[in-house]
């Protein structure tokens, strides 16, 4: 029987493919802006949101989106004041995980929920979730396309952008909201703890391979897509966890790019 004859495998390919492309593209801007740690922290806030929502009988994905988007907007509003505050962000990150643990403690199906949230469970994506992911992906990409020009300007040349009337605050908040949506989607594939693997790994590898933005975005999307699909295929034939396979490929791609582009 072929790999695509199984319903859950078809869903897995579709879901991981959608999320990989979106995460790869959004990740390019995240890396360029030096906000990768903020992205990582957002996913942890999402963990608290998902478990809290689950506890009161709401959709965990809905709770995750609500919490990450709110936290993203807050981070964006703090903007520059957040830079160099890694300790504060890290403590909030740990606190969020702690709250998530507390909420799970009162949750009946503790172990499976925890594992799925922390490390992802792409093989269990339902058709309903798949649709939600597609909508989230479209929203994130359309919003990013709409603000990408001033966002890039404000990222690369903040003083000049400000002088031309680009609001750092507005672009920062909108971008972090987009990151939050992307993080929420990524968690469905690789989990809270491994969001870096799709959002940062491919973008960081692509950034080393090209000096241009357009090709960089395309490359990041392709690398992420290849990692996700290969990860699912390898997992299918080896029975290793999908998330492990994707992280391994992500690390491989990144370090290969580093070695390949190292100045002789």
């Amino acid at each position: 029987m072929g790999i695509l004859d199984l319903d859950f495998m078809r869903n897995a390919f579709a879901a991981s493919g959608i999320v990989a492309v979106v995460a790869g593209i959004v990740g390019v801007f995240l890396v360029l802006r030096g906000q990768t740690f903020a992205g990582h922290a957002l996913s942890h806030v999402g963990f608290a949101g998902a478990t809290a929502a689950g506890l009161i009988g709401l959709s965990p994905l809905g709770g995750m989106i609500a919490f990450t988007v709110l936290a993203g907007i807050g981070m964006g509003a703090l903007g520059e004041r957040l830079s160099g505050r890694d300790v504060a962000v890290g403590i909030v990150l740990a606190l969020s995980l702690g709250f998530g643990l507390l909420f799970l403690h009162y949750y009946t199906s503790f172990a499976t929920q925890a594992s799925a949230l922390l490390f992802g469970n792409v093989l269990a994506v339902s058709t309903g979730t798949l649709l939600t992911l597609a909508v989230l992906g479209v929203v994130a990409l359309v919003a990013l396309a709409a603000i990408s020009r001033p966002l890039l300007f404000a990222t690369l040349q903040p003083e000049l952008a400000e002088a031309r009337g680009v609001s750092q605050r507005t672009t920062g908040i909108l971008f972090m909201a987009i990151v939050a949506i992307t993080v929420s989607a990524s968690v469905q594939i690789v989990g809270v703890l491994l969001v870096f693997t799709l959002m940062v790994g491919p973008a960081a590898a692509a950034e080393r391979l090209t000096t241009r933005l357009g090709p960089g975005v395309l490359l990041a999307a392709l690398i992420a897509l290849a990692e996700a699909w290969l990860g699912v295929i390898i997992a299918f034939y080896t029975d290793w966890p999908v998330s492990f396979c994707i992280t391994a490929l992500s690390a491989l791609a990144y370090f290969a790019a580093v070695i390949a582009t190292r100045q002789a």
Partner: protein, 277 residues
């Protein structure tokens, strides 16, 4: 017409007064060196001219219009940031982001944008430099690139905020000459802030000296005098000219030294005289 007019201008940062009751005018086409001790308000003044800081008192006019953000007549070279050398993005892409960068949508240049970009790069001879990633450029090359960027859209006024920082003396001279050439050939008014007078000696028409809330604008001979500088430093200032050098002394301490003045001295005076004509 005057390029920049300050009328009874007062500027404050938070609650700290930066400038008090400053009235002066920079003429169109002038190359003005902006000097003064650290914290004297050079960057603050530039930000106010850009319309990013509202005057606490008085007015700022740029080519007759009240200063406002997004004024296309002003080209701006911000003080260089440390993040640039790590960017593995080509110089061309970097500058391209500023072309109509305030509009929403995808960052796609189009033929007109590419033409503007090439034109600006050619003005400063940076087309080949711009093909390389920022991380593979020297400080001087990056500065040249930022110059090109400041020239996009044909500004009539260039605000150059400490473009000489972290450049060696030879590169510093190149950057000053470049600014002077743009000023003369394109008729652009240039405000060029620097740490030392010597860096600008011979190239500038007039000097704008800031300090202690005050400002003085005039030729080097008019401004670099004890009677003018003492209020700016808030202490007794002595100016010693020796062998083509100008030393600005406060008590026994030299507050500003001119190690490179000598070699450019003759060259300098020639330009200096032109500035008045």
């Amino acid at each position: 017409m005057n390029a920049v007019e300050l009328d009874s201008l007062g500027l404050t940062l938070g609650r700290r007064p930066i400038l008090r009751d400053v009235t002066l005018a920079v003429r169109e086409g002038e190359f003005v060196g902006v000097l003064g001790p650290n914290g004297a308000g050079k960057t603050t003044l530039f930000r106010a001219i850009l319309g990013l800081l509202k005057p606490a008192a008085g007015t700022i006019r740029v080519f007759g219009e009240t200063a406002r953000p997004g004024n296309a007549a002003i080209g701006y070279l911000a003080q260089s940031r440390s993040a640039l050398p790590q960017l593995h993005l080509s110089g061309r892409e970097f500058i391209a982001s500023s072309i109509r960068g305030e509009r929403y949508g995808l960052p796609i240049l189009g033929p007109e944008g590419r033409r503007q970009l090439d034109e600006a790069l050619d003005l400063v001879g940076a087309r080949e430099i711009a093909a390389r990633p920022l991380s593979a450029m020297s400080g001087g090359e990056r500065q040249r690139l930022l110059f090109a960027q400041a020239l996009i859209g044909h500004p009539k006024l260039l605000l150059l905020d400490e473009p000489l920082i972290s450049l060696d003396p030879r590169r510093q001279r190149e950057v000053v000459e470049l600014a002077r050439r743009l000023c003369r050939e394109l008729g652009i008014t240039v405000l060029f802030s620097a740490h030392e007078l010597s860096q600008l000696f011979g190239a500038i028409d007039r000097v704008l000296y800031l300090g202690n809330g005050h400002a003085a604008l005039g030729t080097i001979d008019e401004v670099i005098r004890p009677a003018v500088l003492s209020p700016l430093y808030g202490s007794e200032i002595e100016v010693v000219r020796a062998n083509g050098h100008i030393f600005i002394l406060s008590g026994d301490a030299r507050v500003e030294e001119d190690p490179h003045l000598h070699e450019h001295h003759d060259h300098g005076h020639e330009h200096h005289d032109h500035g008045h004509s």
